[in-house]
């Protein structure tokens, strides 16, 4: 057991856990943040994606010790109070989901993508989201949502 300190959704957090505990299950089981989903356990599907220092990370293959001192954002940390983030808002507006199970990872992935490239082409959105799987096959609307979020964010910055 070892205390591991990191910032979680804007708040300082210290967990006392074995160093080889896995980030996904510390989030879900120890911290009760169940928005981050288990999908494949092997980093293929992206349901477990979280932001670590603004970049997307597959929490299912990440030891919790690796986020010590870093900023972790889960899907629960994207909205400000009742105000959805532009990406979340766009996913609702364009219905970029069906069953919703991959959605947390999709929304986080899209946020990371727009962090890195605020004005992506449609092709860059497709490439950037390629490692996120959606079995309901809502891909079309997810791409539309991300495109629209990018436009909205660019407009807001002007």
């Amino acid at each position: 057991m070892k205390p591991i300190a990191f910032t979680l959704n804007g708040t300082a957090k210290t967990v006392l856990v074995d160093e080889d505990r896995n980030l996904l299950w510390v989030l879900r089981d120890d911290l009760g943040l169940t928005g981050t989903k288990f999908g494949c356990g092997a980093s293929f599907c992206g349901a477990c994606t979280v932001l670590v220092d603004g970049k997307e990370v597959r929490s299912c293959v990440t030891p919790v010790s690796r986020v010590a001192g870093k900023k972790v954002v889960t899907v629960e940390g994207l909205a400000t109070g009742d105000t959805l983030s532009p990406v979340q808002e766009a996913f609702v507006e364009h219905v970029g989901y069906q069953c919703g199970y991959c959605t947390s990872g999709m929304v986080i992935g899209a946020t990371a993508l727009l962090n890195a490239n605020p004005k992506p082409t449609r092709e860059q959105i497709v490439q950037g989201m390629e490692r996120h799987l959606c079995r309901c096959a809502a891909h079309l609307r997810i791409v539309d949502a991300i495109e629209s979020a990018a436009k909205k964010m660019a407009g807001a910055k002007k």
């Binding site: 199970y101 959605t103 490439q127």
Partner: protein, 721 residues
């Protein structure tokens, strides 16, 4: 899914039942010794239990479906579940329409065996098609009764009353009014309507037929939406279950000593079920890896290569699925007889949420199971049987389901959680690993279709002899105008002889229809090519069915189809299908990389006639999802196996459609007010195999008769051409 605000609803939605330790937990756990015993073959233990009836049992009382609170809010109670298909919005639309209340005033409780009326399950695109009319009638009766009650309370004749937004008013005197809430008062409405309450006219619909925003959006993008695996009652333990390494293998010994040496790990054995438990899932995973399993090898000699010959050998029972005229006579009039053999491998459901369940025993001794299931009521019975409770002592609650596609009609994981909960007295969480999901999936069955068709000199199909093994009859009905035809089925997704399949098979989105439509429509294209005709013109020549002609012509117009016999090198294809009462035509444009054999789908146009449309946006989303998901079984998805072992156990080896596959998708839903609402969750997927295979033929002249259309198969077919 439960957000009621009235006392009638017990307990408050997601609230957990109180849990107590019924027995000394440690007494049931083993003591760190090696246990030696035989686990029966999984086929015996885990055979999925299907509920054969698809008819909705209608409760005689509309109160079973509707509850009107004192505040006027309407709670719709349905045994269906929400797995992405959007009925959490569509079904309240139907109730709101007939009740004359705003959609926002209707809450929806779904899939709870204590609260909602019996339902066989959410499958077959039945929710709107079959439950819809029942809900509509219930809501219409409730409205009629409320108007009668208002008439008595206000002293105004029924004919002089109008209803809007849940308020009943006297026509000439708007001051005279009473609300639904005041009339119902949150209680059961005892009054019945004599006779049949009048339904709203379709032309006057104000809620149905309009795209209503989905009600689950904000919860799903914020991570608030709860799925079964998200529920953690106090003291709950995660269970990982010891499995045989292959189907048909028998476990002879299990050594749990190393696992048990880890802190916090408990090992539980309940008959054939051995599990390692830990409060944290990742710790339970580590413990499971330390369990040593000894087993005899699977005797199975089947592989994904030899399975089709095996199916042809073992499937003996033929059942007729349609016939007219005499095939032999028909062939006498044919100028050529064309045979074809079409195959399709096993396909996984692979929902993003693996099968999950949480079970807990309340202070009243009842067992509650929260499960990702498409069939909460049949599951209640199965769980009760497994733990030897009476069904009334078992409650199944279905939170949001993370994809089902038929695969969550079987609920083995819930039975496992329930058994372990009863064995330990503790709440137990079972979330299958992706490997377990691939191992225990009830796959879409491998299928062989043999077709023999006669074509006369005038390009008319004069005979059709159709034999399907594996898929069953769905989608096999011949809607072309053929005077002499005979269609037979051997096996299906259920009711197969033992040993026919090396693992469990079950219903997969439009069960059977994907295979049948693929075979028929591929062969129709073969005939069109033999006739030297454009594939659309050939279909129209042989098609009298006005509804199918209309969707085909509408699709061709939207696609901009210009007739030319295939192969035209343009890479365009067509397919017609029918499923769940909906007629659908699809056209696609593809590009083929001749060097690699890789297919890139550029554009898909899909037109469908689904009768009265409830939620246009929702129906369109289902069509888009069907098209994109269908590219999976068409291009890559096939379970590889040998010696009872499923080789691809995760998404590294089993490829689902990805973003880069996304074609331009255009959908069209025809106006069809005279036909009642038909199914929408499945029809558009059935055409995907043939529309792409036909486009491949048009592009290259190569006919691939095996699904999926892998690069190797495409290259081989091109070499043969």
């Amino acid at each position: 899914m439960t957000r009621p605000d009235e006392p009638m609803i017990v307990p408050d939605g997601w609230g957990f039942v109180e849990t107590i330790d019924r027995r000394d937990f440690l007494r049931l756990t083993s003591t760190g010794l090696m246990v030696a015993f035989a686990i029966k073959p999984p086929e015996g233990t885990f055979r999925p239990v299907w509920n054969f009836a698809t008819q909705q049992r209608t409760p005689p009382d509309f109160n079973a479906f509707l509850h009107i609170g004192a505040n006027g809010r309407v709670t719709l109670l349905v045994g269906k579940i929400e797995m992405g298909q959007g009925i959490i919005t569509a079904l309240p639309q139907i109730a709101a329409e007939e009740l004359n209340v705003p959609l926002a005033q209707v809450d929806c409780v779904m899939g709870d065996t204590d609260l909602t009326p019996f339902d066989n399950g959410t499958f077959g695109s039945l929710s709107v098609r079959v439950l819809g009319p029942i809900l509509r009638a219930a809501a219409a009766e409730a409205r009629a009764v409320l108007v009668q009650l208002a008439s008595e309370s206000l002293g105004v004749p029924v004919a002089d009353l109008v209803v809007s937004d849940g308020v009943i008013r006297a026509k000439g005197d708007p001051g005279k009014s009473v609300t639904y809430g005041a009339l119902a008062g949150g209680k059961k409405i005892e009054r019945r309507f004599e006779g049949k309450a009048a339904l709203e006219k379709v032309a006057e619909f104000t809620v149905v037929g309009k795209s209503a925003p989905r009600r689950d959006g904000v919860d799903k993008v914020t991570g608030r939406a709860k799925y079964s695996g998200d529920l953690a009652p106090p003291d709950a333990m995660h269970a990982r279950i010891v499995r045989a390494p292959a189907h048909g293998a028998t476990v002879t010994a299990v050594d749990t000593r190393a696992a048990e040496a880890r802190p916090g790990v408990r090992v539980v054995r309940d008959g054939d079920l051995v599990a390692v438990l830990h409060p944290h899932r990742d710790e339970a995973d580590k413990a499971l890896k330390l369990v040593k399993v000894t087993s005899t090898p699977s005797p199975s000699t089947l592989t994904n290569e030899n399975i089709f010959a095996h199916l042809e050998q073992v499937a003996v029972e033929r059942r007729g699925i349609g016939a007219a005229g005499n095939v032999a006579d028909g062939e006498k009039g044919a100028s050529q007889v064309v045979t074809g053999r079409y195959t399709k491998g096993y396909v996984a459901h692979a929902p993003m949420e693996t099968h999950s369940a949480v079970a807990a025993i309340g202070s009243d001794g009842r067992l509650t199971v929260w499960a990702s299931t498409q069939t909460p009521f049949p599951l209640q019975t199965q769980v009760a049987r497994a733990v030897k409770f009476t069904p009334d002592k078992v409650r199944v609650i279905t939170p949001f389901v993370g994809g089902g596609f038929g695969g969550k009609s079987a609920g083995q994981q819930a039975i496992e959680a329930a058994r372990l909960t009863v064995a330990t007295g503790k709440p137990v969480r079972v979330t299958w690993s992706r490997e377990e999901e691939f191992y225990f999936d009830t796959f879409d069955p491998a299928t062989v279709v043999n077709i023999r068709a006669g074509l006369d000199a005038a390009h008319r199909i004069v005979s059709w002899d159709y034999d399907v093994i594996g898929a069953g009859d769905r989608g096999a009905r011949l809607f072309y105008d053929v005077p002499n035809h005979r269609s037979m089925a051997k096996g299906g997704w259920m009711g197969n002889p033992p040993g026919m399949h090396p693992f469990n098979v079950g219903p997969w989105r439009a069960p059977g229809a994907n295979a049948n439509v693929w075979a028929r429509e591929s062969h129709i294209d073969v005939l069109a090519a033999r006739a030297g005709m454009d594939p659309v013109a050939f279909r129209l020549l042989n098609l009298k069915d006005a509804r199918m002609r209309r969707v085909l012509e509408a699709c061709a117009a939207k696609f901009g189809w210009t007739p030319r016999p295939a192969p035209s090198k343009r890479g365009i294809g067509v397919c017609c299908g029918e499923d769940a009462g909906t007629y659908v035509a699809s056209m696609a444009e593809i590009a083929v990389d001749a060097a690699t054999g890789t297919i890139k789908v550029l554009r898909v146009v899909c037109a469908q006639d689904m009768g009265v449309l409830v939620n246009p946006e929702g129906a369109t989303q289902q069509m888009e999802g069907c098209i994109m998901m269908g590219l999976g079984y068409t291009l890559t998805e096939e379970i590889r196996f040998r010696k009872g072992e499923v080789i691809d156990k995760n998404f590294g080896g089993y490829a689902l459609p990805k973003f880069s596959w996304l074609p331009k998708i255009e959908t069209l839903i025809l106006d069809s007010p005279d036909i009642p609402a038909q199914g929408g969750g499945e029809p558009a997927i059935v055409n995907m195999g043939a529309v792409i295979a036909n486009a491949l033929f048009d592009a290259t002249g190569a006919r691939v008769t095996e699904l999926p259309l892998t690069p190797a198969r495409v290259r081989a077919a091109m070499k043969r051409t």
